[in-house]
Subunit: 81 residues, 2 copies
Amino acid sequence: MSEKVMGIGMVRELTGLTERQIRYYEDRELVFPARTSGGARKFSFDDVERLKDIHRKLRDGFHTFELRKAQLAGSSRSIET
Amino acid sequence: MSEKVMGIGMVRELTGLTERQIRYYEDRELVFPARTSGGARKFSFDDVERLKDIHRKLRDGFHTFELRKAQLAGSSRSIET
DNA sequence: CGTGTAAGGAATTCTGACACG
DNA sequence: CGTGTAAGGAATTCTGACACG
């Protein structure tokens, strides 16, 4: 499930997030989509789960920088790549 | 693996086939991609395997109509949806 | 029959910015 | 901080057709 194969449009459908939110989470270094030669983002199913998890945590009051820290620390287990 | 999530460009990379071939196999009713609202084809990982299998069989001398028949008959096992 | 290609159009995605708060 | 939006451009994908054999 770690193959980066789907475009942002499909991720939008699968996560219910907006492209803006998805791109922002990438900007905050919380997800790392691959890129096509043309520059288009490509996500994996794992990324989709991760994105949902990120959004859930932000909803619960966390901030992106905290999630990034937790990610580095290897804590707050959920869906790993 | 049956979720139709990737565009034809990714399928091209994963299968090594040309878009022309992929579209032709769909035209011959050997694969059934989903469509986005905009009309773009969406394939699953299963479709990718199926496409590779189709191409292998054509290379071995089979014709698309024969593959379609085999498909209906449920014979020539390989990758099922 | 299975596949290549040039043609024109429509849909997708991209970046940087202004906005609110 | 996290997200919305309008702006212009670039890359992607689509269909129907002519071609070869």
